[in-house]
Symmetry: D2
Subunit: 336 residues, 4 copies
Amino acid sequence: MMGTIGIAVLGTGRMAHVYGPKINAHPGLRLEVVYNPRMSSAENAAARYGGRAMDDLGAVLGDPRVDAVVIATPTNTHLEYIDKAARAGKPIYCEKPLDHSLERVEQALTTLKTHPVPFMLGFNRRFDPDNLALRNAVQTGEIGRLTMVMSWSREPSPPPIGYVRASGGYFVDATIHDIDLLCWIAGEHPVEVQAAGSCMFDPEIGAQGDFDLTMTTLKMPSGALAHINNSRACSYGFDQRLEAFGDKGMVQTLNHRDDNLVRWNDRCTVARAPLRHFFLERYDQSFYNALDEFHAALTSGRAPSATAQDGQAALAIALACAKSAKTGQAVTPDYT
Amino acid sequence: MMGTIGIAVLGTGRMAHVYGPKINAHPGLRLEVVYNPRMSSAENAAARYGGRAMDDLGAVLGDPRVDAVVIATPTNTHLEYIDKAARAGKPIYCEKPLDHSLERVEQALTTLKTHPVPFMLGFNRRFDPDNLALRNAVQTGEIGRLTMVMSWSREPSPPPIGYVRASGGYFVDATIHDIDLLCWIAGEHPVEVQAAGSCMFDPEIGAQGDFDLTMTTLKMPSGALAHINNSRACSYGFDQRLEAFGDKGMVQTLNHRDDNLVRWNDRCTVARAPLRHFFLERYDQSFYNALDEFHAALTSGRAPSATAQDGQAALAIALACAKSAKTGQAVTPDYT
Amino acid sequence: MMGTIGIAVLGTGRMAHVYGPKINAHPGLRLEVVYNPRMSSAENAAARYGGRAMDDLGAVLGDPRVDAVVIATPTNTHLEYIDKAARAGKPIYCEKPLDHSLERVEQALTTLKTHPVPFMLGFNRRFDPDNLALRNAVQTGEIGRLTMVMSWSREPSPPPIGYVRASGGYFVDATIHDIDLLCWIAGEHPVEVQAAGSCMFDPEIGAQGDFDLTMTTLKMPSGALAHINNSRACSYGFDQRLEAFGDKGMVQTLNHRDDNLVRWNDRCTVARAPLRHFFLERYDQSFYNALDEFHAALTSGRAPSATAQDGQAALAIALACAKSAKTGQAVTPDYT
Amino acid sequence: MMGTIGIAVLGTGRMAHVYGPKINAHPGLRLEVVYNPRMSSAENAAARYGGRAMDDLGAVLGDPRVDAVVIATPTNTHLEYIDKAARAGKPIYCEKPLDHSLERVEQALTTLKTHPVPFMLGFNRRFDPDNLALRNAVQTGEIGRLTMVMSWSREPSPPPIGYVRASGGYFVDATIHDIDLLCWIAGEHPVEVQAAGSCMFDPEIGAQGDFDLTMTTLKMPSGALAHINNSRACSYGFDQRLEAFGDKGMVQTLNHRDDNLVRWNDRCTVARAPLRHFFLERYDQSFYNALDEFHAALTSGRAPSATAQDGQAALAIALACAKSAKTGQAVTPDYT
């Protein structure tokens, strides 16, 4: 694989808009094709950030200039694209989650076993420099033996109800990020989860049987305990924090800031501005770094670090959380 | 009740040593009697912080110079002293917890109904100025509608195993403080609790069937969710934090500091010293303020603000947590 | 000197009100006499915080129950009281400054040489725990060789113009505190000072030929440089900070806080309340600790740590600053 | 001026290495030529970051594809290049300082009056987002009337002695940045300066008659006072802070951080890593933004915001500081 790697981005929605410009910015990647079954959408996207517009998947996957695909389509189509790309022998970067159903994820894993192509799942938050630095502190023993790990993820405002409906539920849509992060930091998967949810911001979300406020506890095999809190609304911005507590110390990540200004006046002191608006701003670097990991894996021949199995485990845990929040019982995730 | 209020401190252990000097320091209180059934202990305590040493409870409760009692004896004797003091018509300040058994707490409540004397339970953390300020911010609507509330309580090092054995278990001994605080801040009691525990610091604690590391979730009637994390060990001191998150903002308490020094060097920057060692240092002011509340209630004729019913509710919740941690099921506290 | 030390407080103004209650609170001191040449003032003060009211200085100094005096009278009377107390053989604690004139301070030193009694000058800020901790960090070599040291002292609002008129000018009244602190931290006195002043808050202060805003640079014999900034007004409270920078690191003191609350909302984050109002609140502990040092010196027989010579040096430096601010020239303080 | 603007970078040293890649990164700029009178140096630079290597200045300035020049040569050659570029009608971006002599700067201003081309001086720190945000807070009246403004600039370690020798002295080499920033923030130039310097880190610097530690006070026409402290060494990294204090509040900039990690252990708490190494890292964005301002000025036809007159004023102030540090007298800068 000489020179740059030609990428076909499948899909032209929000996540495609995230990946397109970052592929352009990466010196080792080349945005070769923008694919959408509707040609006009493909053309609009190509006009916006380059690449050739295509609406014929077979042609895309048969194109020798396409070295790999980035799947950024609606979640319920991921499996189909994974299947076709794997059969065509194209390395795959797939936006998370793999799917909302464990059975269907199992199918994808089987496909990837039969048609082994390099595969990376877009757990972008692992590639955020601060999250990575916190994990390194844990893994290198800086805080001793890990005993507690906590994640805050509070979004600025509830998504449109249409998004919520197709999301697979709050645990599968959002908590899955925190689950993956905490398991990746801890280096283990929970033997049991407990979760509680309620609806305090948008009654329409509750009417869907979904939550907009949750708390989750993961019980790890080592005895370590993990806490996650999620909120679909947050008045001061996008609140993203981690805390890892071990027997020799604690490491925390602070929220990112747009500026380094501190204000003092007769109403308050040492005050700073509210937080960056949302995940596109906060995790901008992590999306680039995730693509860089994909590139590095392809050029070095090693497997990418966020695997389909990681996605399977995170989904199993998220579904267990959803079940626990409904039943009130601790649930053992189904990892089989 | 003119002039100062004469106090008999029952018990001469650790908590009596906390209250004795604070009674002396309070301009409206007078340390009248130090009681222990063993006279030598009473005399030692009296020599240390004043008052007359007595070993005859009947004489103490019949003494006209004793206006009220502070019960600072081992937990399993609280009921007996409450019973006798109430029958003698003496106002009671009782160290927490009331008892480890809900049935026996019920008995105490019955006694207090039959023999109504002013009664205050020593939930001292409510009287910590920062905890109070955080609650005021919540109650005055500064953060809008409360949606999440969190409490960290990590102790510097595990207590002696003898203490653990008599403690009623980690939830009843320690989490009960966080439970009371969070319910008091939220202004409601949970409809359901989930808890998880493990033993990661002292295997002897695990051998007792107890935990030294727990996480707890409380589900409030309003939909608000509460999180508590407790640890019997903490390398950087006594970590005590609260976070209240509402739809209009968030309020947090920071740990107290012994100094206001910040250090920069070639290894770290903006570094501060480890935290105050333990609860006697951290909550020193709150014990005084709790006695002040007791004094203010007695002199004004109103009921003290931390009641026996508060103690009953907190115990019911702590026992539900203990059950949840054993069974893995969400448990509804028994408030009857 | 057995038992408690009987103190006569000379003067009944603002500083007497600071010292009176602290003498009462100190277990080794006893407020014996409150003196004012006007009996009604003495009686009012005695009614307020105890001691016998007296208006006859000779009787006060001849009273065997008076073991020592605290001089808290107007600055222009300090010398007279030092002279009489020293001749009567009474140990002296004198509020700063000794006087506004170097010649008169010289007289006081001569008196104290002829009539050697223990003497302590009320440079209370040295006894603030944070200032002391910062100095210890410097003196123990934690930051290596000291190269810069800085002091911020910004008062909440300008004093009444009458106070300003009698103050000896901003440098002698206020900067003298920072000067003493920085020299005490550095362990040396400047060879040269530069100062600049202006009037930006209260034109009446400027009309007196005084400043309400100054910046001062001290050049130390070691080569270390010191900066002081002073303001007679500060919208967010009483701003008191120190920074010591050495070749191995930096130590800073943060402002004291009344609470440990942090606020987040849609306008600001990590915000804290404005600062404590003024010096009585901020330096409350330091006044007590200064009296404790006086007590410790008297009972141990060693000299108190803030001497008349320290006062002389600080005044010489403050007067040099005032001269520099008028002339624009660097001025060498007159230490003779 | 259609399409991108073709830039010739004059010089191939450290600053050329800063500007080259940033010109490449800017969508509106094009690195057309890399010039050095020694062809091999030009070729090396061109190989490193593009552009055509040239060693004939006349050919560069006559080349129609060169729309503007960036002067990044040694300071003592700036005037010659300004003169030739201006006569050739090429817009100029010149690295600071213009020159070390006020007389020669005067010549450059005359040249630019006779041959008026767009001219921008590389006071890059004005274009740092935090510095800009602080200035905006001041200029929009957020802190009321400005009364004090302070700048810290402490470099990680002394430069090679050869650099020091050619630097024009510490005030002209480094303080000039702080001077320009503070005047730009305050919107005025000092009527008088006081400065003090010493040599505490590298005796070779002192042997040159130069300083490695300075403190400077600027007295503004409005009465506002400014303080600058500079150090050629700093154990914890590159310390860059600003503080602006007005009658309604204060704004400060914090140092930039490479990560957002906070560490707690048994030795320290809330500790963060040391600071970014030096100005290339800390001000990386500001160099890009300065070029962007140059581009915006050229394409819009307005004058760039950091002018030759700004450079002249800053030099006059820096030279006054140097004189004050030698003589101990307050010095009025020579602005004529």
